[in-house]
């Protein structure tokens, strides 16, 4: 009794668990229940029940409502789909002038808008692509094919790779100094020599279009949100959902609206990349000291001057960190949008993975990683670079980088010309190394994979079998054994205990949405995989983080490792695991674990680091041992931050589980992948994406509320 009085919360939690388990054991599995066909399926079966809502028929297998709720939201995907279809094909037909046929043509408004948007994006991408790789589309767009035929000199080639490589090195030097320049030069040369030039430049041109556009929109919306509370309130829920929505899922509606190709990918990339930009802009503007704003006002700034001359320059660093985020999101989308036909490295990677050519996949993946690190380091260097005073430099000093670049262009063109004489018959290697003519190590890697399989097959197989049979299957069965009502009680109860009525209502709403959608069972599978991944990741991450923290150098080293790993697009993680474990659930889970361990480790180290030095000294002077200090001082204080790490770990794990559908899992991701190849998949894809986002948001809400309270209690920030 004393214990209960001392820890009233503990008693409440115990009570919640007892109710939960009572419900679990009290409600039996219905005899007709079979996983996967558990709920609504879009097949006809006499055993199904059906209802009609808003003219849409929803068919499902009915169970006791305590066991599984009926999919009352089953009409939603169909409805979204039909509305989109209606918007695209029937809504507001209007007369539009057609340039090609020189006559008016009737087209629905939305279709016309999306087609124009598409054409604009295609134009931008082609423009940059043709600068880097050569081509005619842009010139043709301004003139005509006939004009090109008459003026063959206009058939300009792209830039030789030497110029692009040296140019990026100069830019890297300007932003980050010698080290970065050498890295830029080496990785560009590597890409060229290994024959990945063309796809790399395609990916790069994609980013060069998507990133600036996302930046502009993000900055604009961020400023609007800063100025108006109403805009901020309207944006907030969208930002929240977009943060936890798997990037995969947004591809599906884009497919319907904009079709297949780079342009659709750019537009959808913007949708994903704008939210972090908005958040960081807002954060940066909020962090501008009020006195600086007042100083601006007292200097007589009007609103525009205040924004452009005071607020944005002062928030420069945060905004540029936003640019860094935008670039990284664009890059990972450039890879993922290979699914909707974007060209470039991602496409090659996808192709290689589909053919199970691990060697090729590895090469493409390496290029992706090299470019990712380069872009990340360059944009970070830009953010951290402080403005310098140039007034007292002479013309040459001020413009040395541009002058040097001019020299490089001339030298590069000369080299390419020399090359064209030297390599008379074959390919001009000084201009561009063709895709299949570079050095390739694919065979070597493939042999390596074969060797691994031949040598370790027995062990890997044994491990695999053990994991699946003894750990994963039982865990999955346990998750599926939970009656819907029990899960609901557990989640809502936890919400109430952590954050009161408000939190309880929020998580209840989020859970109900999933429970009433036709994919509750699949959501449970997604959750089980994510849970498994998170548990292992956190164990590893917290341990590694704590160990590394014991030494200044090791913790710095570990943070750097985390930085680098985080820049890789999630898709790249599938390559090595497929190499080692083939196509099984184990592969997915290992990818999840590797990917999700990054935030767990990072936040552990950061949390432990954030313990004030004064407390350290105070503890040391009280004569604590290393362990006492760790457990009595550092862990309790770092714990809230570590919990934020847990939050990130969950989001990362969910992303990876969904992407793992590519290897083959039976969860929400599988359906998203299916929706990608389904003409009527838009509604399904979107709803599934929202379901995944909501799983993330449930944990997000609970953890954040808890952390907020805990931090307040401890008096941190």
């Amino acid at each position: 009794m004393e214990v209960l009085k001392k820890y009233p919360k503990l008693f409440q939690w115990l009570f919640l668990l007892i109710v939960f388990f009572a419900l679990c054991f009290g409600i039996d599995v219905p005899e007709t229940y079979k996983f996967i066909r558990g709920q609504a399926e879009f097949v006809k079966d006499p055993n199904q029940s059906a209802f009609v809502f808003l003219g849409k028929e929803v068919r499902y297998y009915a169970f006791d409502v305590f066991w599984r709720l009926p999919p009352l939201l089953g009409w939603l995907p169909i409805w979204i789909n039909d509305s989109l279809f209606f918007l695209m094909n029937d809504w507001m037909p209007m007369e539009f002038w057609n340039e090609d046929t020189q006559e008016y043509k009737t087209r629905p408004l939305v279709l016309q808008i999306t087609r124009n948007l598409t054409a604009f994006m295609t134009f931008l991408i082609e423009l940059i692509r043709e600068i880097l790789l050569g081509g005619l589309e842009t010139i043709v767009a301004f003139t005509s094919w006939d004009w090109i035929d008459a003026n063959p000199w206009a058939e300009l080639p792209g830039l030789p790779w030497t110029i692009v490589a040296a140019g990026s090195a100069i830019l890297a030097y300007k932003l980050g100094g010698k080290g970065l320049a050498i890295y830029a030069l080496l990785s560009m040369t590597y890409i060229s020599i290994f024959g990945q030039w063309k796809p790399s430049m395609q990916t790069l041109s994609f980013i060069l279009v998507a990133a600036p556009l996302s930046f502009i929109f993000g900055l604009g919306l961020g400023v609007a949100a800063f100025k108006s509370k109403r805009v901020e309130k309207a944006l907030y829920p969208i930002l929240l959902v977009m943060q936890t929505m798997p990037q995969y899922a947004v591809l599906v509606p884009a497919l319907v609206l904009f079709g297949v190709g780079d342009h659709a990918a750019v537009i959808i990339t913007m949708i994903v990349a704008v939210p972090p930009m908005i958040l960081l802009t807002l954060l940066g503007l909020r962090a501008v000291p009020p006195e600086v704003i007042e100083a601006g006002r007292m200097s007589g700034c009007n609103n525009w001057q205040l924004m452009s001359k005071v607020l944005i320059p002062t928030a420069r660093r945060d905004i540029l960190i936003g640019v860094n985020q935008v670039i990284m999101v664009c890059f990972s989308m450039a890879v993922i949008s290979a699914f909707i036909g974007a060209k470039g490295l991602g496409f090659n990677l996808l192709l290689a993975l589909n053919q199970l050519n691990i060697g090729l996949a590895l090469e493409a993946g390496l290029c992706i990683s090299l470019i990712a690190i380069l872009l990340d380091k360059m944009s970070l260097a830009w953010a951290n670079k402080q403005v310098d005073y140039f007034g007292n430099l002479n013309f040459f000093q001020r413009n040395k980088n541009s002058l040097f670049f001019g020299v490089i262009v001339i030298v590069g063109i000369l080299l390419a010309y020399v090359g064209s004489i030297y390599f008379k018959d074959g390919y001009n290697y000084l201009f561009e190394v063709p895709h299949n003519k570079g050095i390739s190590t694919a065979n070597f890697w493939n042999k390596g994979v074969d060797w691994i399989f031949d040598t370790f097959f027995v062990y890997i197989k044994a491990f695999n079998t053990w994991l699946i049979v003894d750990v994963l299957q039982p865990m999955r069965a346990l998750y599926l054994r939970m009656p819907a009502i029990a899960t609901l009680v557990l989640v809502v109860g936890a919400g109430y205990l952590i954050g009161g009525v408000r939190s309880a209502l929020v998580v209840c709403g989020l859970t109900l949405f999933i429970a009433l959608s036709p994919w509750w069972d699949r959501a449970l599978v997604t959750t089980y995989m994510a849970t498994f991944g998170v548990i292992v990741s956190c164990t590893i991450g917290f341990t590694v983080g704590t160990l590394c923290f014991q030494n200044k150098h090791s913790s710095k080293f570990m943070l750097n490792v985390c930085d680098i790993f985080q820049t890789f697009p999630s898709f790249v993680y599938l390559i090595p695991v497929m190499m080692l474990f083939g196509i099984t659930d184990t592969s997915v889970l290992i990818a999840v674990i590797v990917y999700a361990t990054i935030p767990a480790t990072r936040y552990t180290i950061e949390g432990l680091r954030s313990v004030p030095a004064g407390l350290h000294d105070a503890a040391t002077m009280s004569g604590v041992t290393k362990f006492q200090r760790l457990f009595k001082i550092e862990f309790p204080l770092a714990f809230p931050h570590m919990m934020l790490g847990l939050n990130q770990t969950i989001v990362f794990a969910l992303f990876m589980v969904i992407i793992g559908a590519f290897i083959g899992t039976e969860d929400l991701g599988q359906y998203i992948l299916k929706a990608l190849s389904d003409k009527k998949g838009a509604g399904i894809g979107l709803t599934l994406g929202i379901c995944v986002a909501f799983i993330g948001l449930i944990f997000d809400n609970l953890i954040r509320t808890w952390v907020g309270k805990r931090k307040k209690h401890l008096g941190i920030d």
């Binding site: 100083a295 200097s299 007589g300 001359k309 002062t314 420069r316 005073y389």
Partner: protein
Amino acid sequence: MSEPVIKCQSVYKIFGVNAERMLKEANGNVDAKTFQDNGCIVGVNNASFEVSKGEMLVVMGLSGSGKSTLLRCISRLTDATGGKIFIEGQDLLNLNNKELIDLRRNKMGMVFQSFALLPHKTVLENIAFPLQIKGIKTEDSINKAMDMVKLVGLDGRENYFPRELSGGQQQRVGIARSLAVEPDIWFLDEPFSALDPLIRKEMQDEFLRLQEKLQKTIMFITHDFDEALKLADRIAIMKDGIIEQLDTPANIVLNPATEYVRKFTEEVPREKVLLIKDVMDETTSSDIGDLKVSKDEIIENVAEKILTQEKTVAVTDGKNNIVGSINPIKIINTVFGGRKNNN
């Protein structure tokens, strides 16, 4: 008597959603406690005063007393909830945005506690900023800014960035920036509070030197009573949004109006604050001695001379006319008498 430069009539600033309605209902009788119970915080409570041309009014108060809020009402960085504020006869609260910007571009300058310099601009660019905002040609603004750099003694550092300067130097930039447009009215919001004591004293002296030269109309905010005594023509002491007393430093030290004010004055070394004219008798008595002291001397400087006299000492004005007298006993009484310990 010419028009006061700054004139406040019953200025109120109340924070909270219902502030305006509550103020109306209170009918000029604002009680902080009742407002607080209704979710409103009273920042400034019925402030009325005038500042005339070339005068320096120092507003003194502890943190949360509403002194900075009062300043922000007068510079209209926040809008006052009630009352009227006149700047050179113009009704400040009725200005539209454009007129307000004009006023700030030409008439007002402000210095901030945390310096509030723009981190991406050099010293020179920071100082030229208000001029460029106004639309003055780059060359002219740079020339003008260079004059300001010299005025505050930062020559040679004009191309430094704020991050490369010490706190005192940064505040010099802040002062130069606020003076660049040659404003008539100069607001200083705890300008020296973030500085080390030694630098603070140096900056105060520098500030007095500048003011002697420029003769601006000044509102100076501080939480440091000694600083207020040192700089002010008049001091307003604020507590909980109310101006407790507004008077010359001497009168505040000699006749504190409330208990709260008296607590501040207790520890003040009066001989360092009071002038002869503050304590002299207007009448000239018969047994006056040969010694003459100027009425504008600080007591400390002449105390030794006076106290060694047995007779009453004559007090003269600037033209050496005798305007009054002072008895050594009076000096002793003012400096050492009337204190708590002696009671």
